[in-house]
Point group: C2
Chain length 100, copies 2
Amino acid sequence: MKTVVQVDFPFAGPFGEEMAEAMAGLAHSITEEPGFIWKIWTENPVDGEAGGVYLFEDETSARRYLEKHTARLESFGVTGIRGRIFAINQALTAIDHGPV
Amino acid sequence: MKTVVQVDFPFAGPFGEEMAEAMAGLAHSITEEPGFIWKIWTENPVDGEAGGVYLFEDETSARRYLEKHTARLESFGVTGIRGRIFAINQALTAIDHGPV
């Protein structure tokens, strides 16, 4: 069953184009993760936060990725990482045009 | 600029089909919110959490909705609501097929 991964953490930057340049290789590698469907890269320079919302094919792939990504972020020196795994309420999401 | 709203909170249910029946009217009403594009309804019965990930046309609409929705959840007796507003890193999201 398709599964959402929601991650955010305190982040001092870079944001925007500079972040895109720094992270383009990582973004490409994510497309090759097992079960990966899509990721929206989130950023909030004002509040000093960044993260991502992902869709995976199933919960097993989602959990495996979250574990891997959390370890990677920690290796970058990121702390305060908040990761969540969610099922999707399909009927309500269909009413609200959710792209799942 | 398109803006993500990310909300989650402790939730004891109902989940799944029962939640869909209880919340269908709310889901329909959300489609009429100014600037609303889509919502993915998230739920995690094991960890006792629920929430949503939304896309809005702009930050003003996103902030207005988050304020309204937080007040509504509080009126339902929900506490511990965590709401975040994020810009989207368009270049990285495009690489990862994000539906924005």
